[in-house]
Symmetry: C2
Subunit: 472 residues, 2 copies
């Protein structure tokens, strides 16, 4: 017999852990580990009950399960014995006892966080949404609860297609819409779709969202940076000899710089895509929010056969709804649906139905109008605060649209040390450099998201920022 000491049965009287189950788990472990060897006689249920202070019935229930599953065998008149071949003879591999901690940046709500892309959620029309949700749950049929189609519900796809045609000059049929779990899943699906063939070169804006590039790399794409200037992607720098899988751009409010691509560059970009017989991924998460002019026309509307448009409701509704979409060129529809099916079958049906009603009822358009005004006001406050505190020491980029702008401080270098100082002072700012492919060009520029900030936080935040910067 082994010399390991038998662990004592300890009962946790928390009602959520049935005692019989705890006893079962305890003895199962003892048997599997060999502490109770095959063929050995089990202590009597009476003794276990006495020693552990639980009722004998509870112990018997646990034994019943162990007998039922084959850990124990009852021999008439002799007692209960451990069955044969139920000991795990191979030693367990080293197992880390403590759970590792995970270092996602927690969202500090007490801090003044200039994180980009987070909308103002205090004004979300919760009551309207609750009413629509109740309506949908009142009318729901078994058909809405069972498995559905990968492309998403036709009710929602129709609303999205109509919205894009009416507001963004896009040209699409509801069958070209693929509903996804946010823009992140959309980028993953589009990447997988366009990297199916031989072509692996992926032309991406430099700087551009680091997360998206990581998704593309993990799918086997080879990132080829194309520089961005004050008019977006520099089309003259598109490589003449490449055969790219795609070119990814955010023309209406470049991420992170916030600049807008003028029409002539859009035309040159489309011509390049046509010549190379490749696709453009148009990924503008906040293009609906434009403050000084109507939303700029989309690339998708200019050439629906060459452009794969990625969109999301994270910025225009709320992020945790996790609904985005792709507008697919007709020839990619089948492949897109197939990839979505093997990713997670389809988006949750009821959420799609509520969102479709929210758009169809006009609540979405109304909410967008309200928020556009709110954000325009917040943006002005931020611009004023920057002017007041920094004057000529700061240069602003990309303030015409979206939920963030960029601030460039010539002569300053946002090193880890400075960023850390700003963070410790309770302010979150995000370096553009983090999103740069070729490092070293944007060390003096930070992203300032303002979607969820109010006057007080903006003023305090910018004055703290000023205190932390080594200005002359």
């Amino acid at each position: 017999m082994k010399e390991r000491t038998q662990a004592k049965l300890e009962i946790d009287r928390d009602a959520k852990k049935p005692m019989a189950r705890q006893i079962y788990v305890h003895f199962r472990a003892m048997i599997l580990s060999g502490d109770f060897p095959a063929g050995s006689r089990m202590p009597s249920t009476r003794r276990i009950a006495l020693e552990s202070g639980v009722s004998r019935n509870t112990v018997m229930a646990a034994f019943q399960t162990l007998l039922g599953e084959g850990y124990l065998e009852a021999r008439r008149g002799k007692g209960t014995f451990v069955a044969s071949s139920v000991t795990l003879s191979a030693q367990p591999t080293a197992e880390s006892a403590a759970l590792p901690t995970f270092d996602y940046k927690p969202h500090r709500f007490d801090a003044i966080d200039f994180r980009a892309g987070v909308p103002d959620l205090s004004r979300f029309p919760v009551k309207t949404w609750r009413r629509l949700s109740r309506e949908v749950w009142t009318e729901v049929a078994p058909l809405d609860l069972t498995y559905s189609q990968p492309e998403g519900r036709i009710e929602l796809r129709t609303q999205i297609a109509e919205y894009l045609c009416a507001n963004r000059g896009e040209r699409c049929h509801p069958d070209q819409i693929l509903v996804t779990c946010g823009a992140t899943q959309a980028m993953g699906i589009v990447g997988r779709m366009l990297l199916q063939g031989e072509r692996k070169a992926c032309l991406m804006e430099d700087p551009s969202a680091a997360d998206f590039r990581r998704i593309i790399s993990s799918l086997g794409g080879r990132i080829v940076p194309v520089p961005v200037d004050m008019e977006g992607l520099v089309t003259e720098a598109l490589p003449a000899d490449a055969l790219p899988a795609f070119i990814s751009v955010s023309p209406s409010h470049q991420f992170p710089l916030g600049v807008t691509m003028p029409l002539k560059r859009k035309v040159r970009l489309l011509e390049y895509a046509r010549r190379k017989k490749t696709y453009i991924i148009e990924n503008d998460y906040d293009c609906e929010l434009r403050y000084d002019s109507p939303p700029s026309g989309s690339l998708q509307g200019m050439d629906p056969a060459r452009v794969v448009r990625v969109g999301t409701f994270s910025a225009t509704l709320y992020p945790s709804i996790r609904i985005g979409y792709v507008v697919l060129p007709p020839e990619l529809i089948t492949l897109g649906r197939e990839i979505k099916w093997f990713a997670d079958l389809h988006n949750a049906t009821v959420d799609q139905l509520i969102l479709a009603r929210f758009i169809a009822s006009g609540s979405f358009a109304h909410y967008q109008r309200v928020m556009r005004k709110t954000y325009r006001r917040t943006r002005t406050l931020l611009l004023e605060a920057l002017e007041r505190h920094f004057g000529g020491d700061v240069e602003i980029l990309g303030s015409a649209a979206g939920l963030h702008l960029c601030a460039r401080f010539p002569g300053i270098k946002f090193t880890f040390k400075i960023l850390n100082r700003i963070n410790l002072a309770g302010v979150g700012v995000y370096p553009v450099e983090e999103h740069a492919i070729r490092k070293g060009r944007w060390e003096n520029t930070i992203i300032l998201g303002y979607g969820m900030l109010d006057t007080r936080r903006i003023n305090v935040g910018i004055s703290i920022l000023k205190r932390c910067l080594p200005l002359q």
Copy 2:
């Protein structure tokens, strides 16, 4: 000048397509295509208004957009001209005009469908769910609407962990739970996780769910079949010389055969995994539904460090909720969360909060008890119908649990022709052979799912099946 005829402006008076937007789209296309060449003078807004029968203000609004976006230039006193460099000179690549149709098997609700895995949705407690949904939407805070953590909400993870510990003898902490979009996404995440290293051999049950194998293959896994007999995976057939990335099993109700793995094989399987320092994926989508005995203990509970458990609420609640989960060994927690983050950030928050309340309130346990009784009754009806119509000509497998059983008809071969005949007669049955890796062993066996069928449908369905089979 090109000889292409200028397309006539045709206005669709459907209120959902603003007329100014239609006019904009029309002229944008004419300019991009070169039908209105760079530098040419545009027709006057007055003339366009007259010819198309819309108001001049509407046409002017469209022109304003075209001017704003840079398609047109106004020259004082001379009229409006097409800007330079806004013609797409590269020809468009061939573009399929018609949208392709997509051949997912539509769910025929008029047919008698013995599809596996679809629960009875007519009894789902919609009112309770609606009430909980209203509660959550009443208490919702901005924090619930913004971006969240990849692992899912602690409220739901706590409920899942407690449920698994209390009902399935599993041993897990809420931090080991990763909330996913159903079992499909769970398998994708687990596959990606376990195929990160050098090992590419994936030991899978033969037969096993074809969709899951396809996901694993697409991730670069090499499928190695291990046969299944009436006691589940044949542990003696596990390859001695392999270094597998994982072994995937469904021990409590094998899919598709429905058989249950006895304890001794579970022990042998775990010993193999320990020796090979590999992981077991335990994927039992309907293990909670057991009719003749308590649910069999899980592999996860026997060795939480070696087993990755995949679960879903599709069978126990409703499929279109798209919520599943993974129970991760501690050393895989970080990697699992990271992969989920890059897949789609996290599951929709409100849905998670509603489900957490549904479980915490006891409604989930109650609903499971009700449905277990219902399914037991339906299963009995199906067994009786099979006995009545086929007697000794049929052999039943896997009827002790779950939402389906298998029927083996010695001497019958379910060819495409026979299956087609059955389908055309309005009955859906599913061949086991479709899920087989090595073909030819299960041609006489079909899967009969009974979750959503009633007495009448079962009797009619089985009598139609009988009519279609070439029995002696």
